[in-house]
Each structure stands twice: as structure tokens, then as C-alpha cells.
């Protein structure tokens, strides 16, 4: 089978509007999470990673198309536009477009929103992005809870292997909304403080917003320095509960095992794990169990939720892109917020930026509905 690569990439987040800036800020120990006081979003002050609205509209205005786009559309267009230009790929009928989002323009359901509620249809969001750039193929919107971003990479790779497309642009995004905050709060899952994945003092998640894009291609000529090969991926359900993660980490365990099989690698090949790490009690514990069942407890690991919050449909993409840059810079980045291990099984949490020769990394994600996804990526020319 032909190889597929993750190529040009971009992150639009509270830590910057392009991947190198975001990674540099992370390296310097900055977090995008701040205390927000906005009653339109939530009755009480809350910690979240929110993009500065003035900065966003300034950046969007530079594109020369002002009115008529929602916050999420602006973020997605900025992010995707960046990599379409950088890659120089012509948008023919051999080029696919995948959008990954959990809730899309869900803020438009609020009667106070200036856009009509019909804007919340995810297919509409897909067509707005398609038409903005002039894609020749029908957009594929993937909405599969918190694995959406990572699963979108797997889906893109498969459509290329299957011969449907030669190249696929993926853009993922979600915004911080009163819809999402009220829901996670009713689940008593929101942390009253900046989140602390895998830590003894962890007390839940922070929500974040971001848009992220990546080009998947089988063309190994036009690749940026940080490009990686997708060695293997898989997605398995827990078949256990629609909101609580499996106590045995069954779905995640099976996803990683199956991704390893396709990648033809074992635990000893993995130099780094970019885990999900939402900082809820049950999720982090479940991951520790699944990873230890696979003998991965000693591999350096981080969760990036302490920098970006949980960016939902964007998270898998944001975290994979940071992983690409991590390999390129041969640097492991700290798991922000972590001080003391608070799961029942050993994990090797990265506590300071560390320079080390890196070749291969594992990215995992888990979400509501019992879904899990794992993927293995390898540096080029190594």
C-alpha cells in the first residue's frame, strides 16, 4: 500500500495563529487558559482557552472578506487558508475536504445570536468552507465526539488509500459556547481551576477553542520539514457506557493494539505518547490502565489540555500537529498542570521540555459514546 503523509499544518488558538508560534509559546511554558468573566457564556467566572476576538477579526479582515461569517467559520477559514496557500495544491476533483467538529456553529441556536439558528446545520458549515475556497468535491463532515480530529486523519488516509482522493485537506474546530459549558457543567466535569491532567489534584476539564488544519497526501515531493508518515491507525468502541469511560480501557487498548498492528511497530518503537488527558478522574485513570496493559507505562507522555483546554473536535488535530513539531525539534514538551501522579498505574509524565532524539509517536483520543482512536506517526527520513 502507498504511504500517506501529514504535510502542511496550521493551528489557530489562544497561543497563536500558526503552528510554529503555538509550539514556541508552549516551549516557553505559556498556557492559553485564563479566567473568563462573561455572563453570555456562563453565569459564573470560569477557566477556558478563548481566542482574543479583536485579534481574530483583525486577522480575518486581512483576507478581504468581512461580513457574514461566524466565529468558527472565521477560525476555520483562517486556518485552512493558510495551508492551502502554503502547499500550493490545486483544488481539483482529486482533492477532498474533511471537516471535524463536535458542535459546529452551535452558538447560533442561542436566540441572542445575530445569525439564524439554521446556521447550526453542520452540512451548511461544510459548504461555507467548501465554497469559500472553491473545493471541487463534496465536503465530508465528521462529528464523532472528542475523537473527531484524530479520526478525521484516519478517514483522510483511508480515502486516499482507497483511491477516492489523492490529497485531503482536513480542518477541525469548535468554539467555547454557553451550550458546551452548561452541558459539561451539568456533568460536574468542569474544573474550577486550570486543569491538571493525570495529577493527584486534578478536578476536571477546561473547555478551549481552536481551529486546526492539516494536509494529508501521498505525494512525498512537496513536504514541509515537520512532515510525518501515518504508519497505522484504528478506532474501537468500549461497548460499555455512553458517557463513562470503560474501567478496563478496553476500546483504547484495542485501538492502540490495532494501530500498532497496521504500523508494524510495538511499544519499544514509541518514543513519545500524546495522550488525551482531559483531567477528569475517570478518563485519566482509564488511559493509565489501557496504556499499562500494553506495556507503555514508561514511555514519555503528555496531555496538551493544560495549554489549549479541551478543544473538542479540534483537539486531535491540534495535538497531532504539536506532535509533528515535537519530532521535528526532537523535543518533548511538558504536560502543563502536572505535579504529582494521581492515577493507579505508572505513567511517565513529561515535566520539563526535554531534548531527545525522537522518531515515532503515538496519539490517542477518547470520547463520549465510548469511542477511542489511536494513530502512530513516524518522522521522515529516519
Amino acid at each position: 500500500m502507498n504511504s500517506t503523509y501529514l504535510s502542511y499544518n496550521n493551528i489557530v488558538s489562544s497561543l497563536g495563529f500558526d503552528s510554529p508560534t503555538v509550539v514556541k509559546n508552549m516551549h516557553e511554558g505559556l498556557s492559553g487558559i485564563t479566567l473568563i468573566e462573561d455572563e453570555n457564556l456562563f453565569p459564573d467566572p470560569f477557566y477556558a482557552s478563548v481566542i482574543d476576538s479583536h485579534y481574530l477579526s483583525k486577522a480575518f479582515k486581512k483576507l478581504g472578506r468581512n461580513g457574514g461569517y461566524t466565529r468558527l467559520e472565521q477560525m476555520m477559514i483562517l486556518s485552512l487558508g493558510n495551508i492551502i496557500t502554503a502547499s500550493g495544491v490545486e483544488l481539483t476533483d482529486r482533492v477532498g475536504l474533511i471537516l471535524s467538529t463536535t458542535k459546529g456553529n452551535i452558538d447560533c441556536l442561542d436566540p441572542k445570536h445575530h445569525m439564524p439558528p439554521e446556521r447550526a446545520y453542520l452540512g451548511t458549515l461544510g459548504h461555507i468552507v467548501k465554497n469559500y475556497f472553491g473545493f471541487a468535491t463534496e465536503p465530508i463532515v465528521l462529528s464523532n465526539a472528542c475523537v473527531s480530529g484524530l479520526l478525521a486523519i484516519a478517514v483522510g488516509k483511508r480515502f486516499i488509500s482507497q483511491g477516492t482522493f489523492d490529497q485531503v485537506f482536513i480542518v477541525g474546530g469548535d468554539v467555547v459556547s454557553n451550550f458546551i459549558l452548561s452541558g459539561f457543567n451539568s456533568f460536574q466535569a468542569l474544573s474550577p481551576l486550570p486543569c491538571k491532567p493525570y495529577c493527584k489534584q486534578r478536578s476536571g476539564i477546561n473547555i478551549g477553542e481552536a481551529a486546526a488544519s492539516v494536509l494529508i497526501t501521498k505525494d512525498n515531493n512537496n513536504l514541509p520539514a515537520e512532515a510525518v508518515e501515518i504508519l497505522g491507525e484504528a478506532s474501537c468502541n468500549d461497548a460499555n457506557h455512553i458517557s463513562g469511560p470503560s474501567r478496563t480501557g478496553e476500546g483504547l487498548y484495542r485501538s492502540i493494539l490495532s494501530a500498532f498492528k497496521e504500523a508494524k511497530v510495538g511499544p519499544s518503537h514509541i518514543d513519545y505518547i500524546s495522550a488525551h488527558g482531559t483531567a477528569t478522574q475517570f478518563n485519566d485513570e482509564m488511559e493509565a490502565i489501557a496504556l499499562n496493559r500494553l506495556g507503555l507505562g514508561s514511555v514519555p507522555l503528555n496531555s496538551l489540555k493544560g495549554y489549549f483546554g479541551h478543544t473538542l473536535g479540534a483537539s486531535g488535530l491540534v495535538e497531532t500537529i504539536v506532535g509533528m513539531h515535537s519530532l521535528y525539534h526532537n523535543t518533548l514538551y511538558s504536560s502543563m498542570g502536572f505535579t504529582e501522579l494521581g492515577v493507579s498505574q505508572p505513567l511517565n509524565i513529561i515535566t520539563a521540555p526535554t531534548v531527545r532524539n525522537l522518531d515515532c509517536f503515538l496519539k490517542t483520543a477518547s470520547g463520549f459514546g465510548g469511542c477511542n482512536t489511536a494513530a502512530v506517526f513516524k518522522k521522515l527520513g529516519s
Partner: protein, 207 residues
């Protein structure tokens, strides 16, 4: 590679208050509203799964269609099966999203319900089916403006040819303000119907 010889092992549709399994009309109830019809179908199809009543309409609809189609094919419910679930629709979970939005719009009466919120993701329907039939397999939920046979066809074929799944339960399960529709088909290496785009369209439109 098993490409080219993939088949459709069976299909099920629930729409216009009719339940059809492989050409056979199993039941109909033209007069009733959607939720009454769902309850009636649950009983007539001997579903016997109390958790059904906790689901939102999208999950109920997808769950019923999947259950009707899979039940006769699964002899040993404890046996591990690698049947991937690849569903699509146009309204995502919007019917339930609207319900959650209502619970938070009025600040004087602000009581979001976790039991509603959990269903504000379309793939929860796939989770419910996975739990019932013990499917530790892939779940993907796509949103298209219309039933997109080309993408579903290629994706299901890819899953089976790369041995990521033995069979794929594919289709369209949609609930919106004034309409609902479920159409599921099982892609397999055995069966009597060819897994071709034209055949799928024919099954989808002649229900």
C-alpha cells in the same frame, strides 16, 4: 483483497411509520406520531431493552433499525464480532441540541439536564448499538446535506479490504423538526445483493 466481491447481506428501513426488513413490510402504523410509533415498533419488534426509553429520538431510531437488522444474523450475542458502524445524516443531533438550548436560554429557569446533554452528539447512537451488540469496533458518524452513496460505498469497502472490519453496518439515520428516516444496510463478503452504488441507491429510494 476482497474488493469487487463485496455484498449487501441485508437492509432495514424505518420511515413514514413503516418498518421494512429486506423487502418485507414488518409493520406499519400510519396514523400515529413519531414517538408513539417508535414505542409501538419497540414492542412489536420484541426489543426488550429498558435502556431504550432513556435514549433520544435519533438514538432510538438508529438503535431500532440496527437491532431489527442485526438480531436475526447474530446467533451468539457474546461472540466477538467486528462489525463497524458508519452512519450519516443531515441534522446531526440538532433535535436534542434544540432541547438542551431551551433549558439554558432562560436565565431564571436555567436547568440543563445531563441526560439530555449526553445525546447532543450524533455518535451516541452508535455507542448505544455497540453496547447492545457488544461491538468493540469502529464507529464513524458523517454529516452530509443528502444521502451520499459514493462516500459511504468507498469508505465501507476500504474498511473491509484493509481488514479493519469484517462487516460494515452503513446508512442514513436522520431526525429533524418534521421528518425522520432510517435506512441501514450491512456490507459483507456474503449476501445476495451486489455492493454497488446503483444497488444501494435503488434500495434507498424504493423503500
Amino acid at each position: 483483497m476482497k474488493t469487487g466481491q463485496l455484498k449487501i447481506k441485508g437492509y432495514c428501513s424505518i420511515s413514514n411509520n413503516r418498518v421494512i426488513l429486506n423487502d418485507t413490510l414488518l409493520m406499519e402504523d400510519p396514523g400515529s406520531d413519531f414517538s408513539t410509533f417508535l414505542k409501538l415498533a419497540y414492542k412489536k419488534m420484541v426489543t426488550n431493552y429498558p435502556k431504550f426509553f432513556k435514549m433520544d429520538d435519533l438514538s432510538k431510531l438508529g438503535f431500532l433499525a440496527a437491532d431489527i437488522l442485526l438480531k436475526p444474523m447474530i446467533r451468539d450475542s457474546e461472540m466477538s464480532k467486528n462489525i463497524a458502524l458508519v452512519f450519516s445524516n443531515s441534522a446531526s443531533s440538532l433535535q436534542t441540541d434544540r432541547k438542551h438550548q431551551e433549558s439554558i436560554t432562560d436565565r431564571e429557569n436555567y436547568f440543563p439536564s445531563p441526560a439530555v446533554f449526553v445525546y447532543t452528539l450524533p455518535n451516541i447512537c452508535l455507542g448505544e448499538i455497540s453496547i447492545k451488540h457488544r461491538l468493540y469496533s469502529e464507529n464513524s458518524f458523517f454529516i452530509f446535506n443528502h444521502f451520499n452513496v459514493a462516500y459511504l460505498h468507498d469508505y465501507a469497502m476500504g474498511l473491509i479490504t484493509t481488514e479493519k472490519a469484517d462487516e460494515v453496518l452503513c446508512g442514513w439515520v436522520n431526525c429533524d423538526t418534521d421528518d425522520y428516516e432510517a435506512f441501514l444496510y450491512l456490507v459483507s463478503t456474503e449476501g445476495n445483493i451486489e455492493h454497488h452504488k446503483e444497488e444501494i441507491i435503488k434500495l434507498y429510494t424504493t423503500k
